[in-house]
Subunit: 375 residues, 2 copies
Amino acid sequence: MSSTASSTTGTTLSYEQAGVNYDLIDPLKVAAQRAAAATAGHLSAHGFTEVQASRGESAYVVDVGPFYLASIVECLGSKALVADEMKALTGKSYYAGIAQDTIAMAVNDLITVGATPLVVQAYWAAGGSDWFGDAQRAQALVAGWKQACDVCGVAWGGGETPALAGIVESGRIDLAASCTGIVSPKSRLSVGDALAPGDAIVLLASSGIHANGLSLARKLVERLPQGYLTEVAPGLSYGEALLAPTTLYSPVTEALAKAGVAMHYCANITGHGWRKLLRHPSALTYRIHSVPAVPPVLAFIQQHTHQDDREAYSTLNMGAGFALFVPAADAERTVAIARAHGVEALVAGTVEAGPKQVLIEPIGVAFSDDDLQLR
Amino acid sequence: MSSTASSTTGTTLSYEQAGVNYDLIDPLKVAAQRAAAATAGHLSAHGFTEVQASRGESAYVVDVGPFYLASIVECLGSKALVADEMKALTGKSYYAGIAQDTIAMAVNDLITVGATPLVVQAYWAAGGSDWFGDAQRAQALVAGWKQACDVCGVAWGGGETPALAGIVESGRIDLAASCTGIVSPKSRLSVGDALAPGDAIVLLASSGIHANGLSLARKLVERLPQGYLTEVAPGLSYGEALLAPTTLYSPVTEALAKAGVAMHYCANITGHGWRKLLRHPSALTYRIHSVPAVPPVLAFIQQHTHQDDREAYSTLNMGAGFALFVPAADAERTVAIARAHGVEALVAGTVEAGPKQVLIEPIGVAFSDDDLQLR
């Protein structure tokens, strides 16, 4: 797996140049996944079983009898560093949005398996006790966290606020969220068995970069004469645009479930960009006939990193934050329900029998199975 | 709250001198707890309710109908820094034990509410991709994590392995675990209503410092001529002794539940040492007539930091890693069951009507409510 395969010019800025080397992480991931899979049998002592198909999905699912239990822990990543830089430049705290981003990382993954998120736990590991001494920032983090819980209808159960001098850098914070939910009724489980040729692909709009691609975005800032204050659109700085909080999609998936729309499969479009449309293990072709509008900040990043469409769509969400695979007959209704919950959406394509690939026809880009090894 | 109140000599090394300032963290914690409590109502949309008494406890509990759902996220803290130093001195990797410590932080808290831990998620945030390039260390982390899951009978659901250059320090790793479990049957719930005068206090032995007090322990090393290689007992270095993995107590609590022992209340003895015996909100007196043997590493720390018993017992576990409050008639059986699962235990005292205090009679130390504000 490499996101640099299509780099063709010397000035292209790729993901690996931005400091993330998946070749070093992946052997560990494989070993961890293998060890983790070997622990599933423990559940039988309690009369439970894992949903094995969830092993390759975004959240882990256990059959506990009357419903399925889903759980996850997710990291924000490096987006808080942008908030810190922008605070230095503008005096404003962006941590309310950062809180939403962190919860979105967990909730938007949890819902892909059909789960209703119930409880969120906060993991706020600061570089020292003094991080919490900035009352404006701390209060913004608390308020934003609360508000995101309100939007998602989850209970904030508690969390952990360690001061980790020597591990977390001074003045920084490592933010993560865990989320527990249930799949109820059990028919809501969407771990892939229902996906089939003929299904429609509905893309839910992103609000911007969300929280993936920030290493690249932060690297790019070094090339910008005005740095984070460079305008990406009139009156909108690069930094402000990057900090648009990630859209929370659980109100949409909950509304769809209530409306009886069967979500055959879902993909949260995070790292690996549109290659995430290939997440499902089956050999199926995803033919995209319409792409969403590209948020200004992503168009700006693509332009200034000199990435071609292939590279940009393989790394960034390019306007699509979440993909829903639904029966064709429900496609327009899905769009309408998303819009009713304030999330722009479009029927973007169809699932077809054929080799495993995503064909993004409007831009002439195709990704095949070789472009994504997530499992 | 201050753990330095009893510092009397210039050479005493206290917890705040070791770099953790709770005065800065606590206002944020209070604000976060208030905001979190205000989100509980969201559960009613799904037909569920929170167990309000769990708000002040170590894990958050929701009534989901047939059973209670419990969840938590917990951080290892700074113990990994000791493993890193010892690796430099001995060439060995201690990360299998560090993995157990991390899981213990989550599991030992989760079980206090009567929960059976079911699923653990790993949160391993490294200072850069290269952390995972040390195969010996990475494999030890994976193997130790797996083994701890095996001991606790939990399924390792998955996790997150971000590379967080700029947030986590280069060469370091921020380790945490989330854990989800159920309280089933619901009668196992132990959030305090059953605790009453006459109950016995059974203390389960610790294996050493566990993962609390490490800031102090690391600060002390600067005063030791041979540093981490200083012997705390013949053939046992300070570093090795500190790195004894935290005891996992869930096999004991599961066995007690199966044997029909009613756990009226539990306290995981972590930060704040024996003051954690005051965790229950009621006004009750905890009279301790027997104390466990103090592990050599804790006796060594007390001696070399010149702490009196009051300060040592208010910060470190001093040999008691977990407290069980059980009916007096079940006290000896509780000890026997713990021992049968390889955990040393003793009947240490009784719960009495009276002002909120813990009286540690063998050492003449008392802690009152003023000494602990956790909620």
